[in-house]
Subunit: 247 residues, 2 copies
DNA sequence: GTCTATACCACGATAGAC
DNA sequence: GTCTATCGTGGTATAGAC
């Protein structure tokens, strides 16, 4: 019973209290967000004393980090492991973009499908955390992702040698943003797009639609910044800029 | 309340108190987020009494909605107006995707550039609101966006007649997500991608990079769900799945 | 109508008893 | 390790002043 629920070889149970707090906190954070979740609600759900959180984790913020870390660490390790495998299999040749993107998406997909674990809703919590202005969250996430993203950026750079490094940085940024945001999307937001809630709740379907969309953007030829931006300038002429038009 | 309810042309100041509260609240919400901003901080910054917020707006939540509405209403009206103009100019022919996307982006760009108004940081507040689980925010935003999105969806459908309606819904969802998320992105997040903070602070540059990226995804040929998803399936075989199919 | 002072309960955090 | 008591601060409601 005390085998804990962690995905990665929980060599020590860490104490049943800690695990009960983590489980309760994860569920409540997912449902209401960080700020809107009270320690009193968490400790009540976990059937522990109010002071237990501060004793075991130090603060509400550190509890939040522990909740994220418990799922995030294994997921990002799996991403890097998949990328390693891809590069090993390919020998000297660079893996295709499709495969690299799959290595980025697959672990998120596995997490979304795993109902034993927090499951799909955890990704929504994660996506929300990305947009949070709280300094402690931003520091934590950038530290968590830094090395993983650097590895994938290098892999994409080899797969897309014609793409300038800066443009690749932008596109990777957009990809991570779209991935996180789409996973974090609320039902209300999905209804705006007139999507079937049954489908949009299925993160597997969602990722399988998102991946080709992002892949097209990633492989797109370098824009001369006149295609859309030009349209913008034309629509409202400001300052000095050339029309470059097909009008 | 005062006579000026609607967001159009505030013919009357609505009371200096209300405006001072709105300005102070907007600045603090942008900096710290909704939950982390206290009414006491807002009323102190606005030099009004604590109870003034509840008197003029009813609650902290309604104040937040008022803050969003003040910028959002004009922006979305401008979007629809640009789309109207586009369709009028084209006569019977459907406007190109580039133009439609520009009509969607331009008003956000104008808002980002306008320093008199809240400016760029407002878009970050807005992007964050999208990912917020609070029911009142979700209801508010879906109501605000419903009609605007429906108009753009119809326009895109005419520009992309080969694209099934459902696929278009997905792609529009991704576009709105990427737009909001990218605008809401924190500095820490951008640093992950090794981007120059000076550039990423410039929302104009950002949108001009994002638009071509999203345009490529929007115009991408229908995926047979074997390109990336296939990579996913191969990596973790699942139940059998049929081929192309869109509707 | 508009604004102020103030009271109320829930929150996060912590010191100290057990 | 765990619990109780308590402190400062949060959103909210209202009575009464202008």
């Amino acid at each position: 019973m005390n085998g804990t629920v962690i995905g990665l070889v929980p060599d020590r149970p860490a104490s049943a209290t800690q695990d009960r707090i983590l489980d309760a906190a994860e569920a409540l954070f997912m449902e209401h967000g960080f700020e809107a979740t009270s320690l009193r609600a968490i400790t009540a759900a976990a059937s522990v004393n109010l002071a237990a959180v501060n004793y075991h984790f130090g603060s509400k913020e550190e509890l939040f980090e522990a909740v994220l870390r418990r799922r995030l660490d294994p997921m990002n390790q799996r991403r890097v492991a998949l990328l390693d495998q891809l590069e090993r299999e390919g020998g000297g040749t660079a893996p295709a973009c499709e495969r690299i993107l799959a290595a980025l998406f697959l672990p998120a997909l596995e997490l979304a499908r795993d109902r034993r674990v927090g499951g799909a809703n955890f990704l929504r919590l994660l996506g929300r955390a990305y947009a949070d202005p709280a300094p402690f969250i931003r520091k934590f996430l950038s530290a968590q992702y830094a090395t993983m993203i650097a590895r994938f950026k290098a892999a994409f750079a080899r797969a897309l040698p014609h793409l300038p490094a800066k443009e690749l940085s932008w596109r990777l940024h957009f990809i991570m943003g779209a991935l996180s945001y789409t996973l974090a999307g609320t039902d209300a937001l999905k209804l705006i797009a007139e999507l079937n809630p049954r489908e949009t709740t299925n993160d597997a379907v969602l990722l399988e639609r998102l991946a080709p969309f992002l892949l097209a953007g990633l492989k797109a030829p370098l824009p001369d910044l006149d295609e859309v931006a030009g349209g913008i300038e034309r629509a409202r002429p400001r300052a000095s800029r050339r029309g470059a038009g097909s009008d």
